[in-house]
Amino acid sequence: MRRLLAHSLKMRKVLTASVVLAVAVSVMALFALGLTYGGVQQGVRASAERGGAQIMVVPRDAAADVSDTALLFTGAPAPVYFPVSTAEAIGEVEGVGRATTQFFSQTLNESCCSTAGATRLIGVDFARDWTVQPFSGRDLSVGLADDEVILGADVGGDVGDRLSLLGRTFTIVEKLEPSGADLDDSLLLAIDTARSLSEENLGLSYLWDKYGAPGDLVSCVLADLDGTADASVVLNRINALDGVYAFQRPEVVEASQKQLETVFLILLGAGVLMLASTLVQLFARFYSCVWERKSELALYRAMGASKGQLRALIGGEVAAIVGAGLVSGLACGAGLYVVLMDLLQDGSAFPFISPDPGETGALAAVLAAAFALLALAAIAAPLAQIGRLDPSLAMQQGDID
């Protein structure tokens, strides 16, 4: 029967190819969209759940050039600073609970260090930090020694390896879990170590001429509200301080999620319409593939094929077609997903975490099951009708010479 099945597919080359293509395109679009949506959702969720601070305070100079969303997800990726004294003042603002500081040292290039994938060097006040901790399995509050470094998830290197950075050698003591944000591309040092490295860098001396000694500077303050404090009142109080800009994290997260949902809603709407049209066409095509061959199938019944054998024959053809469409669609969908992610990451500040293999597999399995069910539904009715007809009656119609 396999020979008959192969022959049938071969003899209907154009029909077979067009159905395979239709399945492949649908699967490709759904798989890529599903992975992209899942990845961005997961990134935003991780950022919202694990990002920690309710309030972020950055130099007013940085806020002028960068959106809240970018600031939220990428920190303050600019060499602008404000004094430690201002940071301490923020910590003492009424309504502020806990607060911690970070020091953006510099953007990194390939010549800076002996590892790949690092784009930023950040000093963290680990003793008071609670924002990085959720991405680590070790207790970071004990701080880092002068020669210890923590890697973001996408930076090359493993715990225990030695890393050369701006002329110094560090030991990698931790590699963080993915955050979906630029933390993944960062090297984290103790805040004082980052300051001293920056001070040693002659290329940055113009900054210290402008802002003062790096030991007295911070790039941002991350803060939580104290109990029932009114966020807007606290923000106003902080913004009244000289040279800083404060914004509330939940509002930005919510706004970002709304933006994201709107974009995907539009995409989803268009996708669903396209998909519905494709599914109807596929259903009709599978249905007619069987019904138009009823005289041929009735002839096989006359030769002694049981209903089960006919189901196996048609089911095998459909499985081959759907299988080929699924495999090629999933492969192309994965490729399209990579392209879409590159575009999204280049063009927006949305955090992104690739769906894990389990989720990717589950999506592929759902798609496979959906298309298999569609095909089964499309062939079940005509096969049952043909099975009920007497072979001699069914043979009187169709493509049998």
Binding site: M1, R3, L4, H7, S8, M11, S295, E296, L299, Y300, R301, A302, M303, G304, A305, S306, K307, G308, Q309, G387, D390, P391, S392, L393, M395, D399, I400, D401
Partner: protein, 219 residues
């Protein structure tokens, strides 16, 4: 060897009786010709005998098995293992070559004790189509198509062969070749049931049944 028994067989469409009260038995070695004018129900009768069409009344008993009591698997097995059917309108699959059409029943027969292709080529060769093995039906004359249809019916060596106007459209030589092939089955212990309005062909049968009213009776 198989036996066939037909009891009170009849067929109606929408209350319109086409055939009724047909009863007879066929033993190994029998060749039975059903003779009647065109359009009088011969094809309907042969379809019912070959278990390809359900009857309105009566039953067909094959080797003691009442076909009305059989499920799909058993009916399919009987069609496959017991019957070979030569259709009036040849019923070849247009996308299969001649040899592939002959081999088609083997697709549903499981493992065979012989090579299906070799057998198909032998049968087609015996019917004078050795040089038409790879032709598609549209490349064959009606007579050649009919011979392909005969070869297909014989592929699995069925004990009962049913042929509906098997020599229609054939020239004298071809007609004789097809008839010889079919009667050889009966001579070898099989049963041949065929419909014809060709009196010469009918005269070669061991028994002839004629249409009287809406039933066939042996004369």
């Amino acid at each position: 060897m198989s036996k066939l028994k037909v009891e009170d067989l009849g067929k109606s469409y929408d209350g319109n009786v086409i055939l009724e009260n047909i009863s007879f038995a066929a033993e190994p070695g029998d060749s039975i010709a059903f003779v009647s004018p065109s359009g009088s129900g011969k094809s309907t009768l042969l379809s019912m005998l070959g278990l390809l069409l359900s009857s309105t009344t009566g039953t067909v008993v094959v080797d003691g098995q009442d076909s009305d009591a059989l499920g799909d698997k058993e009916l399919s097995r009987l069609r496959r293992e017991t019957f070979g059917f030569v259709f009036q309108h040849t019923q070849l699959v247009g996308s299969l070559r001649a040899v592939e059409n002959v081999m088609a029943p083997a697709n549903f027969a499981g493992k065979l004790p012989f090579d299906a292709r070799e057998r198909a080529e032998q049968l087609l060769g015996g019917l004078g189509l050795a040089d038409r093995l790879m032709h598609y039906p549209y490349q064959l004359s009606i007579g050649q198509k009919r011979r392909v249809s005969v070869a297909r019916a014989l592929l699995l060596d069925p004990p009962i062969v049913i042929a509906d106007e098997p020599t229609n459209d054939l020239d004298a030589d071809s007609s004789s070749s097809v008839a010889d092939t079919l009667f050889e089955r009966a001579a070898n212990g099989g049963i041949l049931l065929f419909a014809t309005h060709d009196r010469e062909l009918a005269s070669r049968a061991s028994r002839v049944m004629h249409l009287e009213g809406k039933t066939f009776v042996e004369r």
